[in-house]
C-alpha cells in the first residue's frame, strides 16, 4: 500500500519533471527565436532588402557640412549605405512631404523638422515609431524623452534672448529677465522679435514679462499676452523672418536685444559679437528626425537612426561646431564646463526653460497665427 503509493508519486513526479522539462524547452525555443528576431538589426534587414541608400532631407550650408562630417560619412563608412541629402527649410520640407504623399511617390526616407512641425498636419506623413522599440539605439543612447513617437529627438536648443553688452556693459544694469526685455525705460533701444510662424514664442516671452511663472504658461492667455506685447510694439523695429536675419540685426547693431535661436546667438558670440544670452524663460526648441511613411528605404532609415544615436564623441564634436545640444545622453559630459553652462540641457538652464505644450499648440495653431498676423498688421 505504502510502496504502491510511493510508486505512484514517483510516477507523478517523473511526469511533472518531464512536463517541466518540456515547457522549459518550449520556453527556451521561443526565447531563442525571439532573440534571433531581435538580433536581426535594422542594418541586417536593410542589407537583406537590398537597401543600399538612404535619402535624408535636412538642412544646408554649414549645418549640412557638420552633419555630413559627424554622422552621414561615418554611417556610410560603417555600413556601406550611401547617404543622399536634400536641403530645404522646414516648412518647405513639410510641404514637399505632403505633396509626395498626395501623388503616392515618397522619395525621402528621413526628414529633419523642428518640434513645431510635430503636429496633426504633418504627423500623418511620418511613420509611427510607437515607443521606438524598432530603433533600440534610441533607448540605449538617447536622453530621456528622445523618442517622440513620430520621430526621434536630435538637436536641443531654446529661444532665449541676446542683448548687446556694448549697449548694456558689465558694471551697469544688464537685463536678466523677460520683464527687463519689455522694460524700455531702464534698458532703452530697439528690439527684435521673431515673426517666423511660431507666434507662441513672443507670446510666452510677454506672459512671463507680465508675471506668469514659466511653468504655468499653458494654456496661453492670449488677451493678456497681446496687451503686454502692445506695450513693446513701437520699440520692436525688426520682426525677423528667419535665423539669418536675427543674426544680421544683432551683428550690425540694428537692435540692442533680440529673441533668437540659442545656437544662432551662441555662434554670434563665439564669432566676436559682444552679446550675452539670457536663458531663463526661453521656450525649448528642438529638431527631430522623422521617418517618412511609405519611404523607399525604410530599414536603412531606421538603421541610420540607430547609428545616429551612438558615438557620444561625435555628438560632442557636432554640438561644439553647431552650438546645439544633441540627444545622446553621454555627449554633454564631454563638453567643457563653461560650454555646458551655456547649453539648453545644462540642468541650471533646463530647469528654467519653457516646455511647449504641443497638444495646446496643435489645437490652437491656426487661431493663434491668425490673431498674431492681425495684431502685427494693425
Amino acid at each position: 500500500m505504502r510502496s504502491g503509493c510511493s510508486a505512484k508519486r514517483e510516477e507523478r513526479e517523473k511526469l511533472m519533471h518531464r512536463r517541466t522539462l518540456l515547457s522549459t524547452a518550449v520556453a527556451l525555443v521561443a526565447a531563442l527565436t525571439a532573440g534571433s528576431a531581435e538580433a536581426q538589426t535594422n542594418l541586417e534587414k536593410a542589407k537583406q532588402a537590398g537597401q543600399t541608400e538612404v535619402v535624408i532631407a535636412g538642412g544646408a550650408g554649414g549645418y549640412l557640412e557638420a552633419v555630413k562630417k559627424h554622422f552621414y560619412d561615418p554611417f556610410t563608412a560603417a555600413t556601406g549605405i550611401k547617404v543622399t541629402t536634400v536641403s530645404a527649410p522646414y516648412g518647405e520640407k513639410a510641404t514637399r512631404l505632403k505633396a509626395m504623399h498626395e501623388v503616392g511617390k515618397v522619395e525621402w526616407d528621413l526628414v529633419t523638422l523642428s518640434l513645431d512641425f510635430l503636429n496633426p498636419a504633418v504627423t500623418p506623413f511620418l511613420r509611427d515609431l510607437g515607443n521606438c522599440a524598432d530603433v533600440p539605439g534610441v533607448a540605449r543612447n538617447g536622453v530621456a524623452g528622445a523618442c517622440l513617437r513620430h520621430g526621434v529627438l536630435f538637436e536641443i536648443g531654446g529661444v532665449p534672448y541676446a542683448f548687446s553688452t556694448k549697449a548694456f556693459p558689465a558694471g551697469k544694469p544688464q537685463p536678466k529677465t523677460w520683464a527687463d526685455f519689455f522694460d524700455v525705460k531702464t534698458y532703452p533701444g530697439p528690439r527684435s522679435l521673431p515673426n517666423a510662424g511660431v507666434p507662441w514664442w513672443p507670446i510666452i516671452a510677454a506672459l512671463q514679462a507680465d508675471g506668469v511663472p514659466h511653468d504655468k504658461l499653458f494654456p496661453l492667455d492670449l488677451d493678456r499676452a497681446f496687451k503686454k506685447l502692445d506695450t513693446i510694439k513701437p520699440n520692436v523695429t525688426v520682426w525677423w523672418r528667419n535665423g539669418d536675419q536675427s543674426q544680421q540685426v544683432v551683428r550690425d547693431g540694428e537692435v540692442v536685444m533680440s529673441m533668437m535661436y540659442s545656437g544662432r546667438a551662441l555662434k554670434l558670440r563665439s564669432d566676436g559679437t559682444p552679446i550675452d544670452v539670457i536663458w531663463p524663460g526661453a521656450p525649448i526648441d528642438a529638431v527631430f528626425v522623422g521617418a517618412a511613411k511609405d519611404a523607399p528605404h525604410p530599414h536603412a532609415a531606421l538603421a541610420f537612426i540607430d547609428f545616429l544615436m551612438t558615438r557620444p564623441e561625435a555628438h560632442a564634436a557636432y554640438a561644439n561646431a553647431n552650438f546645439y545640444d544633441t540627444s545622446n545622453k553621454d555627449a554633454l559630459a564631454q563638453l567643457s564646463p563653461a560650454d555646458q553652462r551655456g547649453r539648453a540641457t545644462h540642468p541650471d538652464n533646463l530647469r528654467t526653460l519653457v516646455a511647449i505644450d504641443r497638444d495646446w499648440v496643435s489645437a490652437n495653431r491656426d487661431k493663434v497665427i491668425e490673431r498674431w498676423n492681425k495684431w502685427l498688421a494693425q
Binding site: 527649410p89 516648412g91 513639410a94 547693431g253 540694428e254 498688421a377
Partner: protein, 287 residues
C-alpha cells in the same frame, strides 16, 4: 507647299499656326491651366463641395485688409516705376549707338542680380548704422538715426528699384517702333515739342505703358522676399499669407482660396484698366 506654309499674303495657314503654337499650348496646359484648375478645385472641394474657405476669407477682416494693402502697394509701385521708367525709356529710344547701349546696360544689369541681393543692398543702405544714416549724422543733419528700414517707404523704394526694368523695357520697345516720320510730320504741321509728345508719342506709346504697368503690377502682387527683408509688420503682403498657409500650416485648401481670390481681383482690375485705357483700339492704331 505654298498652301501649307502661307496663304493670303504672308499669313500662316490654320494648320501651320496650330503646329507652331502647340508646344507652347501644351506647356501652358500642363504647367499652368492644370495647376490652376487643381488649385480652384482644392479651394472648393475638401473633399465635398464647400465654401467654408471662402467664408473664412470674407469673414476674417485680416485677409481683406491684407489684400487691399497688397493692391495698394502694387499700385503705388506701378506708378513710381512708370514715373521713373518712362523718361528713361524715352531717352533710350532717342539715343543711338554706345550711349543707348550704356543706358540699356544700366537698366538690364540689375535684372541679372537676384531680388534677394538687391533687397539686402537696401538693408545695408537704410539700416540704423547704414550708409544713409551714417552720412546724415556725419553731416550733422540728424542726431539720432532715422528709422528708414522696415517701413512702408523702404518697401516701396526697394520694390520700385527691383521692378524698374520691367517698366522701362516694354515702353522702350514700343517707343522704338514708332516711325520717326510721325513726329517729323507733326513738326511740319507746326506742332511744338510738347505738343508732339502729348499728341503723337505718348498716345502711340500707351500699349507699352499698359504692358509695363501690368507686368510691374502683377509681379508686385506676388512679392515675397523684399517685403520680408525691408518691409515692416505693416507691409505684410498677401503672398506671405499664402506661403504661411502652404508651408507652415499645410492648409493647402485655404491657401488655394486666398490665391483664387487674389487671381479674381487681379483679373477684374486688369479688365477695368484695359477698358479705361481702351487699349485694344490703341494697339490697332499703333499696329
Amino acid at each position: 507647299m505654298t498652301r501649307w506654309r502661307q496663304v493670303r499674303g504672308g499669313r500662316w495657314s490654320p494648320l501651320a499656326a496650330m503646329l507652331l503654337l502647340s508646344p507652347m499650348a501644351l506647356l501652358l496646359i500642363a504647367g499652368f491651366f492644370y495647376p490652376l484648375v487643381n488649385l480652384l478645385g482644392r479651394s472648393l472641394w475638401t473633399p465635398e463641395f464647400s465654401l467654408v474657405h471662402y467664408e473664412r476669407l470674407l469673414g476674417e477682416p485680416l485677409y481683406l485688409l491684407i489684400l487691399m494693402r497688397t493692391l495698394w502697394i502694387a499700385g503705388v509701385v506701378s506708378v513710381f516705376t512708370l514715373l521713373l521708367g518712362y523718361p528713361v525709356a524715352l531717352v533710350m529710344a532717342r539715343l543711338g549707338g554706345w550711349k543707348a547701349a550704356l543706358v540699356a546696360a544700366c537698366v538690364l544689369v540689375p535684372l541679372w542680380t537676384s531680388a534677394l541681393v538687391r533687397s539686402y543692398a537696401w538693408v545695408v543702405l537704410l539700416q540704423r548704422n547704414g550708409i544713409v544714416n551714417d552720412t546724415l549724422r556725419g553731416l550733422g543733419l540728424t542726431e539720432q538715426p532715422l528709422r528708414l528700414i522696415h517701413t512702408e517707404g523702404a518697401l516701396l523704394v526697394a520694390m520700385t528699384h527691383v521692378l524698374l526694368p520691367f517698366m522701362v523695357l516694354p515702353i522702350y520697345s514700343v517707343l522704338r517702333a514708332i516711325s520717326t516720320d510721325l513726329p517729323r510730320a507733326a513738326a511740319n504741321l507746326g506742332a511744338g515739342t510738347w505738343s508732339i509728345f502729348r499728341h503723337v508719342t505718348l498716345p502711340l506709346s500707351l500699349p507699352g505703358v499698359f504692358a509695363g504697368t501690368l507686368m510691374v503690377f502683377i509681379l508686385s502682387l506676388g512679392f515675397y522676399i523684399t517685403p520680408a527683408l525691408v518691409g515692416g509688420p505693416r507691409t505684410l503682403m498677401i503672398a506671405t499669407l499664402i506661403g504661411q498657409q502652404m508651408t507652415e500650416l499645410l492648409n493647402w485648401s485655404f491657401a488655394s482660396a486666398i490665391a483664387a481670390a487674389l487671381l479674381a481681383v487681379t483679373l477684374l482690375l486688369v479688365a477695368a484698366f484695359r477698358r479705361v485705357l481702351r487699349i485694344d483700339q490703341m494697339a490697332g492704331h499703333a499696329g
